[in-house]
C-alpha cells in the first residue's frame, strides 16, 4: 500500500509538541475554579517526570476574557501577550505551555495576525518597549497543557492504577469529550487533529481504556459566549446552548464529561445544577447528573492520586458515582479536610452527593 499520500494528507493534522523546558502560564479561570488541576500538572511534570517547567509569578491575565467581550482592543491584548513572551525570553525559554483554551486561542490569533500583518508585530514591539522597556521573541513551540498530557498519554497509561472501565462489568466507560471552541476552530493547525479530527482528549480517553462518545452536538459551544454569560441579563443564551448540548448527549448515557477548557468545565458543571434547580432535569443515569472533569483531574485519578487533593469535591456535580464505577477506594472522611487534616464544615445541597 502506498503511504506517501496518506502521510502528506495527515501531516496537516499532526502537531509537534515540545518535550521539555516549558515556560508555564496560568489561567484566570482554571486557577480560580480548578487550582488542583494546575498543581497536578506541575507536580506530575516536575516531580514524577523530572521535567523543567518554569513559572514567573509576574505573568498576569492575558486579558482574553476582556478581549472577547470587546472591552480590550486588539493592540492592547497583543502587547500584554508580548509581555508574557518577554518574560519567557528573559528566563531563557522557547517553549510555552498554556493552561487556558481562551488564552491559547488568543496566542494563536496573535501569532497568525503577526504573520499576515507584519506591521502589527512591529507596532507591538514598539508598544511593549515604550510601556515596559522589554523586548520579546515569538515562542518556537506553543502547547496547550492538554497537548502535553496527550503526548504523555501512553506513559500515563503505563503508570495507571485504574482504567476507564466499569470495574464491576468490565465495560469501557462512555466518555463525552469537549475540546472547547477556541482550541482549534479558529486556527486548526495549532490543535492536535485540527478542527476536523480533534483528538487531544479522545486520544487520552482511548489510551486509558474508555469509549469516546460521538453525538450530534459534540462540537457545539458549551454556551459561555463571553458577554452572554458575563452579563446577567444574557445568561439565557449561555444556559440554552448548554441545554442543547446535554440534551444531545443524554441518549448516549455518558459516565463522564471530559473537558479541555477551564471555562467549559465550569459551565458544564454549574449549568447542570441550574437546569436541575429550574425544572428538575438531570442528564445522567439513575437520576444523577454527569460529573465533568478536567483532563488533569482525570489523569490524576487514573494514576491513583487522592481525588480530594485534585479538588473534585469542589465541583457542583460530585464524582462519587464515577469513582465507584472506576473502583477507586476513596476516603469519604478526608473529603472536606484542610491540608493539615482539620475537619471543615460539610457543604449542603451538592449534586450526586
Amino acid at each position: 500500500m502506498k503511504t506517501e499520500g496518506k502521510k502528506r494528507i495527515w501531516s496537516d493534522y499532526q502537531k509537534e509538541i515540545a518535550d521539555d523546558h516549558f515556560f508555564y502560564v496560568r489561567s484566570c479561570i482554571r486557577q480560580s475554579f480548578f487550582p488542583g488541576s494546575e498543581q497536578f500538572f506541575l507536580h506530575f511534570m516536575r516531580e514524577v517526570l523530572g521535567k523543567d517547567v518554569f513559572e514567573n509569578p509576574s505573568h498576569t491575565t492575558c486579558t482574553g476574557i476582556g478581549y472577547h467581550s470587546d472591552i480590550v482592543p486588539l493592540s492592547t491584548i497583543m502587547t500584554v501577550v508580548a509581555r508574557h513572551f518577554a518574560l519567557m525570553k528573559e528566563a531563557g525559554y522557547k517553549n510555552i505551555a498554556i493552561s487556558c483554551v481562551t488564552s491559547f486561542g488568543i496566542y494563536t490569533e496573535i501569532i497568525e495576525t503577526w504573520k499576515h500583518f507584519p506591521e502589527e508585530l512591529e507596532k507591538t514591539r514598539e508598544y511593549l518597549y515604550k510601556a515596559t522597556g522589554r523586548e520579546f521573541d515569538v515562542p518556537e513551540n506553543m502547547a496547550h497543557t492538554s497537548d502535553i498530557i496527550y503526548k504523555l498519554r501512553n506513559e500515563i497509561a503505563e503508570k495507571a492504577k485504574y482504567r476507564l472501565v466499569n470495574h464491576e462489568t468490565g465495560d469501557p466507560l462512555n466518555v463525552v469529550e469537549h475540546i472547547g471552541c477556541h482550541y482549534s476552530k479558529m486556527f486548526p493547525r495549532y490543535g492536535v487533529g485540527g478542527a476536523e479530527f480533534p483528538n487531544v482528549l479522545g486520544g487520552m480517553i482511548e489510551a486509558w481504556g474508555g469509549n469516546v462518545v460521538d453525538y450530534p452536538e459534540r462540537r457545539h459551544c458549551c454556551g459561555f459566549g463571553f458577554r452572554q454569560y458575563l452579563v446577567q441579563a444574557n445568561r439565557g443564551y449561555s444556559l440554552s446552548n448548554t441545554v442543547k448540548k446535554f440534551s444531545s448527549m443524554k441518549p448516549f448515557k455518558p459516565d463522564l464529561v471530559l473537558t479541555n477548557c477551564p471555562g467549559c468545565t465550569m459551565f458544564m458543571d454549574k449549568w447542570q445544577y441550574t437546569m436541575k434547580e429550574m425544572d428538575g432535569t438531570v442528564y445522567g443515569e439513575n437520576g444523577e447528573s454527569i460529573p465533568v472533569l478536567t483532563y488533569e483531574e482525570l489523569a490524576g485519578l487514573v494514576m491513583g492520586y487522592n481525588p480530594w487533593n485534585l479538588g473534585l469535591q469542589y465541583h457542583m456535580v460530585q464524582s462519587e458515582p464515577l469513582l465507584k464505577k472506576l473502583g477507586i477506594n476513596y476516603d469519604p472522611e478526608d473529603k472536606f479536610r484542610t491540608i493539615d487534616g482539620r475537619q471543615m464544615p460539610v457543604p449542603e445541597n451538592l449534586i450526586n452527593a
Partner: protein, 238 residues
C-alpha cells in the same frame, strides 16, 4: 455621512474577516447565537460588504451586533475564508469608539463588563479571580461556590493555592510592578482610551435615562439597569 466602511477597514480583523461573501449561510447554520436570538451573521456580512454607510450606522446602533458569543465556529466553516465574528468584533469596537453602543439595550451592557472584568484587570491583574465572583451576582454557581468563598484559605491551601500572596502558584497576588506595567500597556495601546470612551458615553446615557451614575463601582442605578435589563424580545424574529 461619515465613511464607516473606511473606518472599519482600519481594523485588521475586518480586512482578514471579510472577503467576498457569497451568502451561502453556513455561518448562520452553525451559529449558537442564531439558534436563540433574532440573529443572522450572513445578513451582517452581506450588509457590511455593500458598503452602504447609512445601513452600517444603523447596524452600529443596533442590538444585532451584540448577540454574537465569539465562539468563532463561523471561522472554521466559511468556504470563502471569511470570519463573520471578526467583522462583528470590528463593528463592536467602532460602535464603542463612536458612542453608538449606548443606543441599544445589549450595547449598553459594555459598561457593566468594563466595571467588572475591566476593573479586575487593573485591581488584581486577572480578568476573573475567585474573590471577584460574588455568589449574589452568580446564583448559577450554586452552594459549592458560596462554600468555597466562605472557606477560601482552607480550600485553596489544600489545592496548592497561593491566594493573595506573592510568589508562584494559583491565585497568587500579582506584584504591584507587574500591574503597573499592565496599566502602562493599556495607556500606550489605546486600552485606557476605550475604557474612557465607555465611561463617557455611559455617563451621558445614564443622564438621558434619568438613572444615577457613580464614577466607580457597581452600586449605582445605571450599572444595575444595564446588568439586568432584558426586554425579552431579543429572540423574536423581526
Amino acid at each position: 455621512m461619515a465613511d464607516y466602511y473606511k473606518m472599519l477597514m482600519q481594523d485588521v480583523r475586518f480586512r482578514e474577516g471579510l472577503n467576498a461573501c457569497m451568502n451561502c449561510g453556513i455561518c448562520t447554520a452553525i451559529c449558537p447565537a442564531a439558534e436563540f436570538y433574532d440573529y443572522d451573521p450572513r445578513k451582517i456580512v452581506d450588509l457590511v460588504q455593500s458598503g452602504n454607510n447609512e445601513e452600517i450606522e444603523n447596524l452600529l446602533k443596533s442590538e444585532t451586533i451584540w448577540y454574537c458569543g465569539e465562539c468563532m465556529s463561523c471561522k472554521t466553516r466559511c468556504p470563502r475564508g471569511n470570519t463573520p465574528a471578526f467583522v462583528v468584533m470590528a463593528l463592536r469596537n467602532l460602535s464603542q469608539k463612536l458612542g453608538f453602543f449606548t443606543e441599544s439595550e445589549k450595547g449598553r451592557q459594555q459598561f457593566a463588563i468594563k466595571r467588572t472584568v475591566g476593573e479586575n484587570i487593573f485591581k488584581y491583574g486577572y480578568c476573573v479571580a475567585s474573590y471577584a465572583v460574588s455568589p449574589e451576582m452568580h446564583l448559577e454557581q450554586g452552594p459549592i461556590w458560596k462554600y468555597i468563598l466562605e472557606n477560601s484559605n482552607d480550600v485553596y491551601e489544600r489545592l496548592g493555592g497561593q491566594i493573595n500572596e506573592l510568589g508562584a502558584g494559583p491565585l497568587r497576588k500579582i506584584p504591584d510592578d507587574a500591574r503597573e506595567e499592565l496599566r502602562k500597556i493599556f495607556e500606550v495601546t489605546g486600552g485606557s482610551e476605550l475604557f474612557d470612551d465607555i465611561e463617557i458615553h455611559s455617563k451621558k446615557k445614564a443622564s438621558e435615562m434619568g438613572l444615577e451614575y457613580e464614577s466607580e463601582g457597581i452600586d449605582n442605578e445605571y450599572f444595575i439597569e444595564v446588568f439586568t435589563a432584558n426586554n425579552k424580545k431579543h429572540h423574536e424574529k423581526s
